[in-house]
């Protein structure tokens, strides 16, 4: 593969508004058996996530071997997209409240903002997730039909819909559970990194629509790009669950914590989000990344210059995306 397009998501800027989720859904998954799918979603962590308990569902690599995984269930793990009684509630006489037409037991974002910890030390943060377009995709390796391929020009991982026969080994193999079976079509589908937009030099819908300016997109070898700087140069952005072994190409600036309070209500030096929990999600590099980030923030707060913080602030929306187009055409 000659180039790899990649994304950095700054978790300190994500406000959980789901604009990315809806940008994706309205573009790609609002029809044809995809209604339950969220190729991009934002989940609250700590939490069970989407699909439910995806972290415990197996997949990924165990050295050179694929780790076994299980298939998420539509009702229990994804949640059935129910209809609402709009007609009755809004257009008929009477006081019928607006309600789902079926009882809802689980869905994306079901445990939003619950998090963990006891008052006054409760904590949570938002974790936007999409296909990681991995460098070592377990899904690709698991497909006996070679229906999954990684594009030479940008490393985007795609499922050939002509070749897929819905066997779903890829879904079991993806440790992030970011491939979905479309039971109407009988084939598996996933985030396409908005390749038709990318080919026209337009950023992914999730990244472009992000109101928090939390998402940067660039090729990994582009030394002027945010991805190279944040991941390779400044080392403040990390992959999610690197222990899965798939080498993701979506990176996260890990979340900073407010301090904990002791039983007397006094501030302590302990971060609210437990260090071992962050290490579980982002690997052992997370501590150094947070230290570097805090240092840069202190510099900036003290009136100094911080290229890192300036980049993360993203003063100009257009500077967040480098898709190899002439500068004047960039958004």
């Amino acid at each position: 593969m000659s180039r790899q397009l990649a994304m950095v998501i700054d978790l300190n800027k994500c406000i959980g508004c789901q604009t990315c989720t809806l940008a994706c859904k309205s573009q790609w998954t609002d029809r044809g058996g995809r209604e339950f799918m969220y190729w991009n979603h934002v989940e609250t962590q700590p939490g069970r996530g989407y699909p439910r308990d995806w972290e415990q569902a197996g997949g990924g690599w165990d050295g050179e071997a694929l780790r076994p995984g299980r298939l998420p269930r539509l009702k229990e793990d994804y949640g059935i997209p129910v209809d609402f009684n709009y007609d009755q509630a809004l257009f008929q006489q009477g006081d019928t409240p607006l309600r789902p037409t079926l009882p809802m037991e689980w869905g994306p974002n079901w445990d939003e903002d619950q998090g963990a910890g006891e008052y006054p030390n409760g904590f949570y943060f938002y974790l936007p997730r999409l296909c990681n377009h991995c460098t070592r995709p377990a899904c690709l390796a698991a497909c006996p039909r070679h229906a999954i391929y990684k594009r030479e020009e940008d490393g985007i991982v795609l499922i050939d819909q002509e070749q897929c026969r819905g066997y779903r080994y890829c879904i079991a193999a993806c440790p992030y559970k970011k491939i979905y079976f479309n039971p109407t079509a009988g084939r598996s589908e996933k985030c396409i990194f908005c390749y038709p937009r990318v080919e026209k030099g337009v950023p992914q819908a999730c990244a472009f629509q992000c109101v928090g300016r939390a998402r940067h997109v660039a090729y990994r070898d582009d030394r002027e790009g945010a991805v190279y700087k944040l991941v390779e140069l400044w080392k403040v952005a990390l992959p999610l669950r690197p222990d899965f072994g798939t080498q993701p190409n979506v990176f996260y600036v890990p979340p900073l914590s407010p301090p904990s309070f002791d039983s007397e209500g006094r501030r302590t030096d302990t971060a609210r989000i437990p260090a071992d929990y962050l290490e579980h999600l982002f690997g052992p590099e997370v501590h150094a990344a947070l230290t570097r980030l805090e240092k840069e923030i202190a510099v900036k707060q003290g009136g100094g210059e911080s290229e890192t913080i300036d980049l993360l602030i993203a003063y100009r929306h257009g500077d967040m995306f480098r898709l190899s187009r002439p500068r004047e055409e960039r958004p």
């Binding site: 269930r73 539509l74 009702k75 779903r168 079976f181 039971p183 009988g186």
Partner: protein
């Protein structure tokens, strides 16, 4: 069946093969059966006309040659009856399945029960049982409970796709732990007899793709058509395993075959295809050719091949220096693994 094979052998060794009818010998060996003639073969599995077709027992073995497959399991008996006109063929397959699993559009983790009949063009040898070979395609009728039946074509593993032929019609009944499925369509391949094999999938066990049970090639004699005698004679010759099974087993031990292939009662190794049911899924001629020329056809799993530094891919299996009698004995042993 083995005594019948012995009979075939006796006939061949007596030099009677040329005089004997190869079709009759193949019928007696259990590797061939006849479709009954009927002007309009029925779709309904309970149609009285099915009593005209003699039942044939085919054993479907767990697929273990290539991953993903089934780890273990016993063969499943499948009863086949066939009725044919000049233009159409109806095949009725009946097999045990404790649960009735339908394709669901409201689930992402379930798989339907399914059955496939695989066909190929009659030649002097038969293509590899699993999805055919690059130059020797197979076609199939594929039925899944709750989906439209399909006509598919394959030229080797991973190549299965829609074919240009017409999809068959299908009707199915599940009753007291048994499926009966009739597949009815225009005859998929010219030439008589028609080589076919069957595969079944148990949806409850998450069966799909290679996680199936399959039979060996079987010949179906079509009524009211001349038979391709030359191909039949060749296939009869390939079907025969005249060697000494016991000696074949000793040779397997001597040559350390179990270092790469799993054999009954042996350790789980996967450097080469599992041979636990080698006789159940392979026409003996295939076993013979694999031993004599391992690189002639390589089961297409990456680890079975050695492509480094050669013009063409080689099988990892060494070509052993064997006498004809050794090969006969090895084939006899492997053909008995069923």
């Amino acid at each position: 069946m083995k005594t019948l094979l012995g009979l075939v052998t006796a006939a061949l060794t007596a030099g009677a093969a040329l005089a004997a009818d190869p079709a009759a010998l193949l019928m007696r060996s259990g590797r061939m059966s006849a479709a009954a003639l009927l002007a309009a073969p029925p779709l309904d599995p309970s149609h009285p006309a099915w009593s005209k077709a003699a039942p044939t027992l085919l054993l479907a073995y767990p697929q273990q040659m290539i991953a993903p497959g089934l780890e273990n399991g016993a063969p499943i008996p499948v009863e086949m009856r066939a009725l044919a006109s000049r233009t159409h063929l109806a095949v009725k397959l009946t097999w045990p399945d404790q649960t009735r699993d339908q394709y669901r559009t409201d689930a992402t983790d379930t798989f339907p029960d399914a059955v496939a009949v695989q066909f190929t063009r009659l030649e002097q040898s038969l293509p590899y049982i699993g999805m055919g070979e690059k130059d020797r395609p197979v076609s199939m009728w594929f039925w899944r409970h709750g989906r439209k039946p399909e006509f598919l074509v394959a030229r080797g593993f991973g190549t299965l796709g829609p074919g240009r032929g017409r999809a068959p019609q299908a009707r199915s009944v599940w009753h007291e732990g048994r499926w009966s499925v009739v597949l009815l369509g225009s005859l998929p391949v010219e030439r008589n007899p028609l080589p076919l094999a069957i595969a079944i999938w148990d949806g409850r066990a998450q069966a799909r793709d290679g996680r199936k049970h399959l039979s060996a090639w079987h010949l179906l004699r079509l009524p009211d058509r001349t038979q391709h005698r030359r191909a039949l004679t060749a296939l009869l010759g390939e079907a025969v395993a005249t060697g000494d099974r016991g000696r074949g087993r000793s040779l397997v031990e001597e040559h350390g075959c179990a270092g790469c292939h799993r054999l009954p009662g042996g350790e789980v190794v996967d450097h080469g295809p599992d041979l636990s049911f080698a006789g159940g899924v392979h026409w003996p001629g295939y076993l013979r050719r694999s031993i004599a020329n391992p690189s002639g056809f390589i089961v297409p799993l990456e680890r079975y091949r050695d492509s480094a530094g050669h013009d063409r891919e080689l099988s990892l299996m060494p070509k052993a220096n064997l006498r004809n009698r050794d090969v006969d004995d090895l084939v006899a042993y492997l053909a008995s693994l069923r």
